[in-house]
């Protein structure tokens, strides 16, 4: 954190949100761009790093908390969302971001994704989608194309219908739904700021190439384009729009206004032993 000469804390820069740990990601990996966009977003919001917690599961992408100077939690595979939900519900004043990969979030973690969308706790979920399990060296994930045959586990391709994260998020009731691409880190930063600011559960899918196991994803930068229309707050409209989505439009799809889930946390007891009175004889 840089301190100016007068002794008051100066504005925080993006680099103030980076930790000293060097990423182990492959050079070229999209996740570097996400890291950069995220630190920019936090700097734009001037959130004190100690008021931010970034929670993840397991995967290449899930290593991101350690690269940040915020509080972080690198949990187990697939369970980042409940970690984040528990933290936010118990400590509502914190800014809680949950981040990870498509395998972590949509395969083993799919149930928590559904239910986090429904529950609508005020957290932001960032999925770095590379349509593959990077960390375990290249197996099909739920977002992988059915005919992708480069994994030894599914040598003829997984052969199953891909998972459409935005559709599922909308169907489950997420309050903010967007898609970004690592080819536009500044646009991604802005989208993250909007997602964080939006009350309730915000979901941002970031197309983040795995240059090692999905090298053709380097072409994404040529293919992605802005969504032709602006964000809507009408789920029906959002649903209709998703029907023509080719998964390469970036932009905010949906911004709803459902009340976030947040219990009050207000002590109404003089002393916990008051609770015993109901049993007294």
């Amino acid at each position: 954190m840089s301190v100016d000469t007068e002794g008051t804390t100066a504005a925080l820069a993006a680099r103030d949100y980076k930790s000293s740990v060097k990423p182990v990601w492959c050079p070229g990996c999209g996740d570097f761009s996400v890291l950069s966009a995220l630190t920019k977003a936090l700097a734009e919001m001037q959130l004190p790093p100690e008021q931010v917690a970034v929670i993840s599961g397991i995967g290449c992408s899930s290593r991101i908390p350690a690269y940040l100077n915020t509080y972080g939690f690198h949990g187990v595979h697939g369970r980042a969302l409940p970690l984040g939900v528990g933290l936010k519900v118990a400590r509502p004043e914190l800014t809680v971001l949950v981040s990870g990969g498509d395998g972590d979030g949509f395969s083993i973690g799919g149930n928590h994704f559904l239910h986090a969308c429904r529950r609508n706790v005020d957290i932001t979920y960032i999925v770095m989608d590379n349509q593959v399990y990077g960390m375990t060296k290249g197996q099909a994930s739920p977002t992988t194309a059915p005919d992708w045959s480069l994994s030894k586990l599914t040598p003829e391709g997984p052969g199953i219908n891909p998972f459409y994260p935005l559709v599922i998020a909308l169907a489950s009731g997420a309050n903010f739904i967007a898609r970004a691409s690592t080819s536009d880190p500044n646009g991604t930063a802005r989208m993250l700021v909007e997602a964080i600011r939006h009350p309730g559960f915000s979901f941002v899918q970031i197309l983040s190439p795995c240059v090692t196991f999905q090298p053709e994803q380097r072409d994404w930068k040529k293919l992605v384009r802005p969504a032709p229309v602006a964000a809507t707050s009408d789920p029906a409209k959002a649903a209709r729009r998703l029907m023509t989505d080719d998964n390469l439009f970036v932009g905010i799809l949906y911004q709803g206004s459902r009340e976030p889930f947040q219990p009050r946390l207000e002590n109404r007891l003089e002393h916990p032993t008051e609770l015993e009175e109901q049993f007294a004889v």
Binding site: R79, L87, L269
Partner: protein, 573 residues
Amino acid sequence: MNPASVSIALAGSGGAGVLTSGNALLEAAAQAGWYAYLSRSAGPQIRGGESVTMLRICNDPVESPDDTFEILMAIDWRNFERFAAEIPLADNALVLGDADTGPPPGFLTALPVRYHELPLKRTASGIAQGRPNMLALGVLAELIGIPLQTITDMLNRLLQTKGQVALDAGVSCVTAGMELAQKKLPAVQRLPAPAPRSPGERLLITGNEATGLGAVRGGVRFVAAYPITPATEILEWLAPSVDKAGGTLVQAEDELASINQIIGASFGGTPALTATSGPGMALMLESIGLAVAAEIPIVVVDVMRNGPSTGIPTKSEQADLGMALYGLHGDAPHLVLAPTSVADCLFTTQWAVHLAEALQVPAIVLSDQSLGQSRAVIERPADLTFMARRETPASVSDGYQRYALTASGVSPMAIPGMAGGQYTADGLEHSPVGTPSGSAADHAEQLHKRQQKLSGFNYGRHWADIEGKGDTAVITWGSTTGPVREALARRKAAGHTTRLIAVRLLAPAQPASLGDALAGVERVLIVEQCHGQQFYRYLRAHYELPGEVRTFCKPGPLPIRPCDVLTQIEDWL
């Protein structure tokens, strides 16, 4: 001589109301000043099934079912044979039935019991809104010697929302029941009058409620859980209570979510707990390992039922011990505790919260269906000092090491919000700073630290309940402590002293303390309610047991009774 206690079983089916009148009787006995202990058993139907309420009333605190029942009252006998094994009758027991609802099953009348008929249904039908179960309540109150006024007071409270007609009906039924008993039944030997009590001196509570209370007293302010029998009542009690205390309970989508939600909350500094039973606990093991590695305090209560798999969800057994002790992958030291009675559910849970927080580690509390769903009169607990107090860094500066190697093994834990304390909690092996590390040195250091903070801690005298003297010792744990304690009390009354060691802190093992407790012992009997000798194997693995060792190991669902234990000892000596 006056009897030490009286045990009553109240059977009936299809909404006959045996639970309601059993509970009313329990409450009245408590109000009258007695101690009492109530458990129940029911068929597989969700409602309207056959069921029995089993009540034991006593002048002293009571923590165990008795060997036999002195009184059996049936509103009706439908499917009663299913409970036969659960209701051993005393010789000469008073068996009461209503001929209008059918005859008692043949096997019952073949026993050396005194069978009497009571026209419960018919009498009830003569009272506006009269109910046979309320008559039965009157009959039983009269037999035991509970004054009408005590029952009336209690009905006033219980039925206050139901209106005057219901209340009048209740009082009329009870009165009629008392008269029936006086007219038709032989006198039974009554308990001595209870000692006078000041109101509020004792609590009438289930083990599950006591667990919840212990949690809130210990400082728990976040609970996440997924319902499961027989743990749900902990959650049902906690939902409004933890809310009043400024926390919250979240019903999660599954156990994987609930365990991770509490880890998240605790990472944020809020003491957190979940409650479940065997199947749910099994699902949580991976993430409990995360809490071990990342050193996040949490409490997981497992209210055990019969396994394996779905097993018998509504009945009791002590067979999750192995899973609680060893079920985590890798070397994952953690705490395992078990309450030794309904009352102790409160203390042990509160202590578990305290220890988990002090040691930054998961604590598993092994309760069981029998402790959890039994309702008993217990002494009101002192305002214990065991509270959640987590060590946080006095000040955090640039070089903050979350997993610093310290003398105690406990590293001060920064809490989100503390400026300068930022770190990443990690389930990967890590350096003291928390950075992932695959080095053998870091691994060895952190493994050692995590183990040593538990093994080096002074748990004090609460690690076990140790009572009595003599060269024979019984070692047990959990809900079987009640019957063992009673068996040994009977031996003592007969002039023989036997030691009781009821282990409350199961992990880490306390070999030195057990060694002390066993000094001079020549015979050890190990008592547990499971099939696979799990407790015995655990003791062998971690302790030296002196002299001759025998095991008494019986699976659920039938409870172990004091006479079972007594027989084991007497056959041996």
